[in-house]
């Protein structure tokens, strides 16, 4: 079988590149970590990869707004061929690869207009604003996946938990019409849920107050996906906040964390294309 090639972008304040690269490796892909500057200079070419991943962190210190300086650089700096890196990302998605942004990477994808991109024009249709609490927070949340989401990466992840770590995760849409369209197209792949598994906008189950209780958002092709929580921080059962009990209750339980399943699914989705 073909080995999937994943490119993990690093540098300029991105800080989740190690665990993200580990995630792809554990999911059976080859992970290559490259400094953003190496891509922009053309030392590393996007067309050599099936997956391009913008990890979490504080690119450019979150100054001017989370993901904004990074998005501007991706949008404006010209690669040696004359295209921008943004063009390169779109090309990866068009040829059946995937572009994934997590947390800060998601913020950059939204700023770039790559998600939700319902209008197809790459204009910003949404924003990730300051959490309603006004605070950066690290906590575990319960999320449910939408089986009809065009990003075919949620198998086995219908109802699960994973950590959030952000100050700007409140997704707002440009207008109610666009929001309805996102819902109709099932682009909100993950929703924050309350204890009963129902989507919620109430804090802290919804940690930021996002519209549609949206925790992950893709474009209509399903090939560009932003995720606010951190699946790469749940590669192992031992990342879970209650692992000692989970293990005691089910000693034969897998030592793998559920977050890894998302990466396995991403790799599968690429192979299926």
């Amino acid at each position: 079988m073909r080995i999937v090639q994943a490119l993990v972008i690093a540098g300029f304040g991105i800080n989740c590149e190690d665990e993200t690269a580990a995630a792809y490796r554990l999911a059976g892909a080859t992970a290559h970590t490259a400094h953003l500057e190496s891509v922009l200079r053309g030392d590393v070419r996007l067309d050599a990869f099936d997956i391009v991943h913008l990890p979490g962190g504080f690119s450019f210190g979150d100054d001017l707004g989370a993901g904004r300086v990074l998005a501007n650089r991706i949008r404006t700096r010209l690669l040696p061929g004359g295209a921008t890196m943004g063009d390169g990302l779109r090309a990866v998605a068009r040829r059946g690869g995937m572009v994934i942004g997590i947390c800060n990477g998601f913020q950059a994808l939204v700023e770039l207009g790559l998600v939700p991109n319902v209008g197809g024009e790459g204009a910003a249709e949404a924003a990730l604003m300051q959490n309603v609490s006004g605070r950066y927070e690290n906590r575990w949340v319960r999320v449910r996946a939408d089986a009809e989401c065009p990003a075919r990466v949620w198998a086995g992840l219908e109802d699960w938990e994973l950590p959030v770590r952000h100050g700007q995760g409140r997704l707002v849409f440009r207008d109610p019409g666009l929001r309805d369209e996102v819902a109709r197209l099932h682009l909100n792949g993950l929703t924050y849920c309350d204890g009963d598994g129902r989507p919620t906008r109430a804090y802290p189950a919804n940690p930021n107050g996002a519209e549609l209780a949206c925790a992950a958002l893709c474009d209509p092709s399903g090939r560009i996906l932003g995720v606010m929580p951190h699946p790469e921080a749940y590669l192992s059962l031992f990342n879970h906040y209650d692992w000692p009990r989970l293990r005691r209750e089910c000693p034969e339980r897998s030592e793998e964390g559920k977050g890894l399943m998302l990466f396995r699914n991403v790799v599968k989705a690429v192979l299926a294309a």
């Binding site: 989740c16 210190g61 001017l64 939204v110 300051q130 006004g134 950590p163 921080a233 192992s236």
Partner: protein
């Protein structure tokens, strides 16, 4: 040509709901200052020079703000519906990352525009308030909630009076190298020390004068065309090298110690060598006897180094940043944590990968309401600012905060204690050389990387060596830039991995003077050309360039053969790196500015010329009676203790610190269904195996009033106990796979130099310190756990006129230990109904300075004493039980004793318990076993089927006291009668609510 500016603003869109930042200001103004602001909105205003044309403005606006969430405009921001404003500008030279980010964006947008590449940009925050407020109220909100006059220019007024900023740079001045004529008399010397903020005492000033008087020195200076007296740069460099901060003068002093309890008088030749170094040496001997050799580098470098395995070493340092945090809490804390990160980064050959942070913060309770002295900040402000600084410093660097503590005591109202620690992993070897050994040859280049130099942080080293008062210098304040440091540390790791760095060190206290001065000792000399150092702005004098503590800088020794490659990689990575000179072997530190000599210092004198201090200490245990304990409602007592400052939940603070980035945290600060507190953090080292590290802290200043020896021993025990509780194994002869231990000690004391008039308590304070050091030695040796690095911070006093607020003598031990398999670690929360609850360790009547006594308002009593030999035996047995997989949960007993530990374990598991106190011993009343804080104890739960095996290992040291219950209910009885009986929710509410709105 006059400067032209374009002003752009970004405001939150009013139709997107309340602005969360504005909302916080509104709430805090109401809660803390009783000012009704009405709604509060915020804008950012960016100013760019030279001005942009219309087309560029259009593109800049599009890049600056997402229209979905923001309003972006040119000129003054709109403020419809708001009647007042407050604007917050950075003072000239203060780090302005957002201004710099705007330039980054503009350079990306207009890549071929030289005027932008060399342009300037600044940012300011504007707050819009709905109500019309008086200048006084606006001033209070400005100074107490949103800004600090030390680093910000604050303006406020009616909304329609708002004006766009007129940014200014510091005025250019001519570079001057001044000769400082040393007065002949003592009074003149002391005056000079004071006016130049040298913080040198009379003996030290005389030593400087005598050195310059030496005929050999005069002759050699004449030969080099130097003046007979020191230059400003030389005098400043000497002062900072000799500062308490760098030289630890109290810890290396000759101390005459009168021990009135034992009737002895001894001369102690350096507390540091006699106790700290000696303890580690003794432990090292023992370890070697067991065939263990994982101690690699202790005390010499910026951080201690121990071996993980053949390929990796663990590097770890904890230190304080108290004085800066007292006057600018946010800036002090963020530079504290970033500065501490640079210690492991600047150890050995540099470039380790930072793995975790830990923070221990000591404040006065935020409700402290005594009148503030001039220059003193309200404790709640200090708390909020320090918390936020550590949030930004840690989170933005991508380093998880895995463990920490908050300690409250009114005596931290003058100076808070801000302890920051960082651990890293580095390769064991670089080529054939050990990574932890710096190697510098004459001819190697001196390269400085990271931030630019401004006047910020001048005199930090000497400043932290003096007590604070209302005139404390502003130049000592600095603001950190986590991004700058992140880029520099990523770069250093990359350059280090290529073997391009021969030595690295931090530019912290003392700036270049310290980093180059220290590194120069290895080859035996250095030459520096200060004009090559990148500056934030003009007008900085040569001596200031040499001394500036501007942040995020590191100094490297680089082989000239690879220098150009290193510099080119730095450019690529957005890191400023410059060659500022070279290392030599002529015994001299030669500093030049544009060809003129600014300083030419004999290295030997610089590093060894400090006169030895002689200090007097005495100790007699304070008379302390054991007070009668009144009859109290035990439930009320437990609720009071649980809600107390030192016990209550820290969740609000913990959640704002990223504790999971890097994806390796296995035991987080909060675990279990109910998110209960843990005794130590545990991390995995990689994804390919399950080896890990446990990290914990021990600190209990309250016991020090009764017995400083006991206090220090309890702090050491607490740090070790936390690691034992999660499954870390104490060193011993029988261990098949020995695991490293590495402990940092941090002593924080008030002024210990006796002076009949100004410091009559000095002898006694130093006596307390001697007792603490004796405890440190005894504990380290008893547990065979070595100290590997540490720091002391003396003179933690805040003085205004005749009033002084001094911190209680405090020591923090921060421990890290290797964990062979993180899957075997244990957390504190109860796991299942029916599990047997054990109290492990003997409970004694030790309620002195306990949380229970605090709640009762009782003084006196016996402070807990560590019985180290018994504790060690117990810990080894607990190790065996955990290794054998017998233990379901384990929680150490600390503040609040058994009752608090039980409730915390119940909260973590979301379960209840039913416990009887009778088997704990013969006590007159239940409050003793409930609240006694006897050291070295645990609450352990064991599944019924493992009960026998557990009891075989623990023997009589484990007393079965009850069971975990499925119903979330607290039931404690003695003599068949219930003492406490109520739903867990009641206790949990008290515990969760303790920090109020201050977390």
């Amino acid at each position: 040509m006059p400067e032209t500016w374009t002003h752009l603003y970004v405001s939150s869109r009013p139709d997107r709901g309340a602005d969360p930042i504005g909302e916080r200001v509104r709430r805090q103004a109401a809660d803390f200052l009783s000012i009704d602001t009405g709604r509060v909105a915020t804008s950012k205003v960016y100013s760019v020079s030279p001005a942009l044309d219309a087309a560029r403005i259009e593109r800049a606006q599009a890049a600056l703000g997402n229209r979905v969430s923001c309003v972006v405009g040119v000129g003054s921001p709109a403020c419809k519906g708001f009647r007042s404003f407050i604007s917050v500008d950075k003072r000239p030279g203060v780090t302005d990352d957002e201004g710099r980010a705007l330039l980054t964006v503009l350079c990306d947008l207009f890549p071929s525009s030289p005027e932008i590449a060399s342009g300037r940009a600044t940012s300011r925050d504007v707050y819009w308030l709905e109500q019309t407020l008086s200048p006084t109220d606006l001033g209070r909100i400005a100074e107490e909630l949103v800004g600090n006059p030390l680093v910000h220019v604050l303006r406020s007024g009616p909304a329609d009076a708002y004006e766009d900023p007129r940014p200014r740079a510091a005025a250019a001045t001519r570079s001057v190298i001044e000769e400082i004529v040393l007065p002949r008399d003592a009074a003149g010397l002391l005056r000079l020390s004071e006016t130049r903020l040298l913080s040198l005492d009379q003996v030290e000033m005389e030593a400087v004068r005598d050195y310059y008087d030496r005929e050999a020195v005069r002759a050699s200076r004449r030969l080099r065309g130097l003046p007979g007296d020191p230059t400003d740069c030389e005098l400043e460099a000497i002062a900072q090298t000799w500062s308490e901060h760098c030289k630890h003068k109290e810890f290396s002093a000759l101390v005459k110690f009168v021990d009135r309890d034992r009737g002895t008088t001894v001369e102690i030749d350096s507390l540091f060598r006699t106790y700290i170094v000696a303890a580690t040496r003794a432990v090292h001997e023992v370890l070697r006897g067991w065939g263990q050799d994982w101690l690699l580098s202790v005390f010499d470098d910026n951080a201690g180094v121990v071996r993980i395995d053949d390929d990796r070493v663990f590097v770890w340092k904890v230190e304080t940043h108290n004085s800066p945090s007292a006057i600018d809490p946010y800036g002090g804390a963020i530079t504290g944590i970033l500065g501490c990160n640079r210690d492991p980064l600047g150890t050995g050959r540099g470039g380790g990968r930072l793995l975790f942070n830990t923070d221990v913060l000591c404040f006065a309770p935020p409700t402290y309401d005594r009148p503030l002295l001039r220059g003193q900040l309200a404790p709640r402000r200090v708390f909020a600012g320090v918390r936020a600084g550590i949030e930004d410093g840690g989170n933005k660097s991508g380093i998880p905060t895995v463990n920490g503590a908050l300690v409250f005591d009114d005596r931290f109202a003058g100076k808070p204690l801000v302890f920051c620690g960082s651990g890293s992993i580095a390769p064991a070897r670089v080529g054939d050389d050990p990574w932890w050994e710096k190697r510098i040859d004459p001819g190697d280049r001196i390269v400085v990387i990271g931030g630019r130099v401004g006047k910020d942080g001048i005199h930090g080293a000497t400043f932290s060596s003096v007590h604070l008062d209302e005139e404390s210098p502003r130049s000592a304040v600095q603001i950190g830039s986590p991004l700058t440091q992140k880029l520099a540390s990523d770069f250093l790791e990359e350059a280090g991995a290529r073997g391009w760095v021969k030595a690295a060190t931090d530019n912290g206290a003392g700036g270049l003077s310290s980093s180059v001065g220290e590194l120069a000792r290895i080859p035996g000399g250095a030459e520096v050309d200060l004009e090559r150092v990148p500056l934030k702005y003009e007008g900085i004098q040569p001596w200031e360039i040499f001394l500036s503590e501007a942040q995020e800088r590191m100094t490297l020794a680089v082989d000239p053969a690879v220098e150009s490659e290193l510099l080119s990689l730095a450019r690529d990575r957005g890191v400023e790196a410059v060659d500022i000179g070279r290392f030599t072997a002529d015994g001299v530190l030669w500093v030049r500015h544009a060809g003129r000599t600014a300083a030419c210092l004999d290295l030997d004198f610089l590093h060894h010329g400090t006169p030895r201090k002689r200090l007097e200490a005495e100790w007699a245990a304070p008379a302390s009676e054991v007070p009668a304990i009144p009859d109290v409602d035990l439930e009320a007592a437990l609720l009071g203790v649980l809600g107390g400052w030192n016990v209550c939940s820290r969740e609000g603070v913990i959640r704002q610190y990223d504790h999971e980035v890097k994806g390796r945290t296995v035991v987080k600060p909060l675990m279990g269904r109910g998110h209960g507190p843990q005794d130590a953090g545990v991390l995995r080292l990689s994804w390919s195996d399950y080896r890990g590290i446990a990290v914990s802290n021990g600190i209990v200043p309250r016991y020090g009033d009764l017995d400083p020896y006991a206090m220090c021993a309890c702090a050491f025990d607490e740090a070790v106990r936390g690691i034992v509780a999660v499954g870390g194994r104490l060193p011993g002869p029988d261990t098949a796979a020995p695991q490293f231990w590495s402990v940092n000690d941090n002593f924080c004391l008030p002024n210990v130099a006796h002076d009949a008039r100004t410091n009559p308590e000095g002898r006694r304070r130093l006596g307390a310190l001697v007792r603490m050091c004796q405890a440190l030695y005894d504990m380290a040796v008893a547990y065979a756990v070595p100290l590997t690095s540490g720091k002391d911070s003396m003179k933690n006093d805040f003085t205004v006129g005749k009033v002084t607020i001094s911190v209680p003598p405090t020591v923090l031990f921060s421990a890290a230990a290797g964990i062979p398999d993180v899957r075997r670690t244990v957390t504190s929360g109860f796991q299942a109904a029916g599990d047997v609850i054990y109290a492990v360790g003997e409970t004694l009547d030790e309620l002195g300075a306990s949380e229970f006594f605090r709640w009762l308002g009782l003084a006196g009593g016996r402070a807990p004493r560590v019985r180290a030999e018994r504790a060690r035996e117990r810990y080894r047995r607990v190790n065996d039980a955990i290794s054998a997989g017998l233990v379901a949960s384990c929680h150490d007993l600390s503040d609040g004793g058994l009752a608090v530990a039980l409730v915390e374990s119940a909260i973590g598991g979301g379960l209840g318990f039913d416990v009887a106190l009778d088997d704990l011993g013969q006590f007159d009343q239940p409050s003793v076993p409930l609240f006694s804080e006897t050291a070295s104890r645990f609450v352990v739960t064991v599944p019924e089927e493992r009960r026998r095996a557990f009891e075989v290992i623990l023997g009589v040291d484990a007393r079965s006291i009850g069971r975990v219950t499925g119903e979330a209910h607290v039931r404690i009885s003695m003599g068949g009668r219930p003492c406490i009986d109520g739903p867990l929710a009641r206790f949990e509410t008290a515990w969760r609510g303790g920090l109020g709105g201050y977390g």
